[in-house]
């Protein structure tokens, strides 16, 4: 269980429903580890700055995380967390490993502008 202040995605259905019903969604899938915690923290802050984007996290070790791990964009990822950006239900960007706030903001400006 992730100990963050983000809303957690706990099932494949929940993620599907979220991306079907929201134009802009960002999901950080990881563990409570040193590379992941900073990204959750950045998401927590940015969700106040970008109310039109749905920021969520997902535990990498739950079976439902297969929906993230199985994405073609993640097949060459070897570093946690996997961070996926969806627009209109489609993956528009995926990153692997730790990202700084600056890097996350650049992605957001690039894919959600």
């Amino acid at each position: 269980m992730l100990q963050t202040n983000l809303e957690h995605i706990e099932s494949e259905e929940q993620l599907k429903e979220l991306i079907e019903n929201n134009e802009k969604v960002a999901v950080c899938c990881g563990r409570m580890g040193p590379m992941c915690i900073p990204v959750y923290g950045i998401f927590e802050i940015l969700q106040g700055n970008y109310p039109d984007i749905q920021f969520r996290d997902m535990d990498f070790d739950i079976p439902s995380a297969a929906i993230i791990k199985g994405l073609p964009e993640c097949q060459k990822f070897f570093g946690l967390p996997f961070t996926i950006y969806y627009r209109n239900g489609k993956v528009v960007k995926a990153t692997s490993s730790i990202q700084s706030a600056k890097e996350v903001k650049i992605v957001i400006d690039e894919v959600f502008a």
Partner: protein
């Protein structure tokens, strides 16, 4: 331009401790950080040596508590915000953030800590998370039964190598010297493991990808001859650097390694500017020491504000 009594740059233990003190002293306090609050502590799995916690506490929990405590006393935060311009002089101090908000204060405490050092060579950034890693506990299992490089020969490189040995088929350590800098007891555990070999006196110059393999181009520092070696992944543990690059246009005294030089009361060469925590030049770097630094800096600010 918004005015505060104190601007604290950095929301790790030093910055948060300072904020708790200045806020409790009724000084308006703004804490700015390029990331979320907590500094390196938030990424520490368990903290077992922080007084007052009989059982180890999760680093992110300790960091969260510190932030909450500062907020409770009135500290304001601007997080995930870069300082894009900074002016520090005896007479005037202001900071501009990436959203173009400008803040001024009579006192500034710099507590930006340190970060893992990057090699800054071609390919490092491109393959982060897809062949280049910085955390054994996070990414080790992706390399189960694979051959990897570990770059570095200090304590963190050897400790992380011991973790990686639980997963990988082999480790090739690339180290710039001809002996390891790590403590002997840890280094011996790594070097005597049959899965480990060491490439001495070499430094990586570039990383490439060749099909599914990572290629390291390494230079022999004695002969300057370059070689290319292939493995499945690269883990980099080459120490820490102070987060002081943003001070490059500020007339603050730094050591040649970029640490801020302070006096015993955390004062820098600029009146009203203090430095605390791991960004400060000192021998030991611990959470408890950072908290002490932050407290000292805050008490000095409070004293000078009263004067």
């Amino acid at each position: 331009m918004q005015k505060y009594d104190v601007i604290i740059i950095g929301a790790g233990p030093a910055g948060l401790a300072a904020a708790i003190y200045t806020s409790r002293a009724a000084l308006s306090t703004l804490v700015v950080d390029e990331s979320s609050a907590g500094g390196q502590v938030k990424t520490t799995y368990h903290v077992a040596n922080y007084p007052g916690f009989v059982e180890p506490i999760a680093g992110h929990e300790l960091a969260g508590n510190m932030r909450e405590q500062a907020e409770k006393y009135g500290t304001k935060f601007k997080l995930a915000a870069d300082v894009t311009a900074l002016h520090l002089s005896d007479q005037e101090k202001w900071a501009e953030l990436d959203n173009e908000d400008k803040y001024t204060a009579e006192f500034v405490i710099i507590a930006t800590g340190s970060s893992p050092r990057l090699l800054n060579i071609p390919g490092e950034k491109d393959y982060k998370g897809s062949g280049v890693s910085y955390c054994a506990t996070c990414d080790g299992e992706f390399y189960k039964d694979k051959d990897i490089f570990v770059i570095g020969g200090g304590n963190s490189a050897m400790e992380e190598s011991l973790l990686l040995l639980q997963f990988v088929k082999s480790i090739t350590v690339i180290h710039q010297f001809d002996k390891l800098q790590a403590e002997k007891i840890t280094a011996d555990k790594v070097t005597t493991n049959p899965k480990v070999d060491i490439l001495w006196s070499h430094e990586p110059r570039a990383f490439y990808k060749k099909e599914n393999k990572m290629v390291v181009e390494a230079e022999n520092l004695k002969t300057h001859k370059r070689i290319r070696l292939e493995r499945d992944g690269i883990f980099i543990f080459v120490g820490l650097v102070p987060n002081s690059a943003f001070l490059k246009n500020v007339p603050i005294q730094l050591t040649k390694y970029g640490y801020i030089i302070t006096g015993p009361q955390m004062e820098t060469n600029i009146r009203g500017v203090y430095a605390a925590g791991d960004v400060r030049d000192k021998r030991h770097r611990q959470i408890t020491i950072a908290v002490g630094d932050g407290t000292t800096a805050a008490l000095e600010v409070i004293k000078h504000n009263l004067n």
